[in-house]
């Protein structure tokens, strides 16, 4: 009984907080197609733009998109510059220690290596990855030397200019480069990393997290999430 009362009191308190805060600011990187990028008009676009707008409609929230560099994306969430991260961030144990995740909105993603030729040794050579990504963690766990860059564009550039032998990133990101350039090819097998992408919230923001998880669940149930995945992320399995 006591727990019930406490729980109700807690809900009432947090509901008050949510009411006072009707605009939810969504933080994203804006440099990681097809997940999130800036279109020709300079607006945030991509898989997560469509997903986020739909989630906000379902949760009856007004949402505002904010771009932020990847390497400071978690600290700026914690200091309150925005209320949620929706930036292709895979759910991992290490990240769970600092932020809380919604339910995943993609299954675990395939990551892939891309290089200038197919006979590159991705387990022993120099591999480029973006700082603070699951791919960077994965490269250090293999025998390869990790070369880190602050943004996705630089990791691909490093392979082109010979600084790195290969680049490792989410396969859906690399696909557009490989398809549209004669020089880059996929190397080796895909690796499934992480627990799928989720939205990240401040640990004190349980109510907002629950709201978005409910919206994600409703999109999973009526199949609209699978449609979005099929449209934007051809290499990712559907739910």
């Amino acid at each position: 009984m006591n727990r019930l009362i406490l729980g109700t009191a807690f809900l009432a308190l947090t509901a008050g907080a949510a009411l006072a805060q009707d605009t939810v600011r969504l933080g994203t990187e804006g440099a990681y197609p097809p997940y999130n990028f800036l279109n020709d008009d300079g607006e945030v676009a991509g898989f997560e733009r469509e997903l986020g707008d739909e989630l906000c409609t379902r949760a009856e929230l007004t949402c505002e998109w904010v771009t932020n560099d990847w390497d400071s994306i978690i600290p700026n969430l914690q200091s309150g510059n925005y209320d949620a991260i929706i930036a292709g961030m895979s759910i991992t144990e290490a990240r769970r220690e600092v932020v809380d995740f919604s339910e995943n909105y993609t299954p675990p993603l395939p990551s892939a290596y891309a290089a200038l030729s197919e006979d590159v040794d991705v387990e022993g050579g120099v591999v480029a990855a973006q700082t603070g990504t699951i791919q960077a963690d994965h490269v250090t766990s293999t025998g390869a030397t990790l070369l880190e860059f602050p943004n996705p564009e630089d990791t691909v550039a490093a392979v082109r200019n010979g600084e790195a032998d290969a680049v490792m990133a989410d396969k859906d990101f690399l696909t557009s480069y490989v398809e549209n350039n004669d020089d880059l090819v996929f190397v080796g097998e895909d690796v499934a990393l992480g627990e799928g992408i989720g939205m990240a919230f401040r640990q004190s923001d349980a109510e907002l997290r629950e709201t978005f998880t409910a919206a994600i669940q409703s999109m999973k149930e009526d199949g609209s999430l699978n449609e979005l995945i099929a449209k934007w992320l051809p290499d990712t399995p559907e739910f």
């Binding site: 990028f37 564009e153 480069y177």
Partner: protein
């Protein structure tokens, strides 16, 4: 922008370029040059005011004021700009929210710092969560301008302090002989004559300020560097109507030219001011 830009794939050469250079993203890029110029236009006078205040404080006879002035000058001059920027902008941002929190929500039960999270009550958020995005951007820009002004104000203070000392002693003695008070001497003799001694130092500072404007990018403001990097990056046809390879070199080259023009124009203007201020002064031409 132009009607024939509806189908960019069919275009080539100059027509393509004209359409490419007028996308919404490029317009934002051009506007960011305005951001840089606005930063300079606001920071320069504010920093000069800070410098003037700092120099006056450092010259004061009342020792706490003198200590304050000297401390300001030596602390800010002694810390690397980037370290100061990274620290001060966050400290200022959180300081403002903390103060407003104390004023607006005195009954707030939760801790402000929870682990690495910084949580003030929604009413104390600056700017408010419900404010439009441009208000957030203006606020961020204002904090950046203030930080620039503090940093460059300290250097300006040192320059002006030296310039005030450089006004020939005979001038001050003559003023005293005429019966002017210390304040009158400062207003009528020192300030009008010190600029000629301050100008070389101040013009140096102006050039350094121009070249420091890309620091805005570090503070998360979408300035020329941000847009140059974003626009220059490889664009594949899946996600844009104007695919291209890695063009960052060309965009950064454009920045280089912009800054060269800006500093060249500044040099010309500063030379003119110098010539003007030298009239009637006992300085070597």
């Amino acid at each position: 922008m132009f009607p024939n830009c509806a189908d960019p794939v069919s275009l080539d050469g100059l027509a393509w370029l004209a359409c490419y250079l007028t996308t919404g993203k490029h317009l934002a890029f051009y506007a960011s040059f305005g951001t840089v110029l606005l930063l300079l236009a606001i920071t320069a006078p504010v920093a000069l005011a800070f410098g003037f205040g700092g120099a006056m404080a450092a010259r004061a006879r009342f020792w706490p004021v003198k200590l304050l002035g000297r401390t300001y000058i030596s602390i800010v001059r002694g810390v690397p700009d980037i370290a100061f920027f990274l620290f001060f902008v966050i400290a200022l941002d959180q300081g403002v929210e903390w103060l407003r929190h104390q004023a607006v929500c005195p009954d707030w039960a939760q801790a402000i710092r929870q682990g690495s999270e910084f949580l003030v009550c929604p009413a104390a958020k600056t700017p408010s969560n419900n404010a439009p995005q441009w208000a957030h951007e203006v606020y961020g820009f204002a904090i950046a301008v203030f930080t620039f002004a503090i940093v460059f104000g300290a250097f300006a203070a040192n320059v002006l302090f030296g310039a005030m000392m450089a006004v020939p002693k005979g001038q001050l003695e003559t003023a005293a002989a005429y019966g002017m008070s210390r304040a009158q001497t400062f207003r009528r003799i020192i300030v009008p004559q010190m600029w000629i001694y301050a100008l070389p130092g101040l013009s140096n500072l102006w050039m350094v300020l121009i070249k420091a404007t890309p620091l805005l990018f570090l503070l998360g403001i979408e300035d020329v560097v941000y847009w140059a990097r974003e626009l220059g990056g490889t664009k594949t046809p899946n996600f844009t109507d104007y695919p291209h390879g890695d063009w960052r070199m060309w965009y950064f080259l454009a920045l280089l030219i912009f800054y060269l023009i800006l500093t060249r124009v500044s040099e010309v203007v500063l030379d003119r001011i110098m010539a003007r201020l030298s009239i009637g002064q006992a300085v070597a031409q």
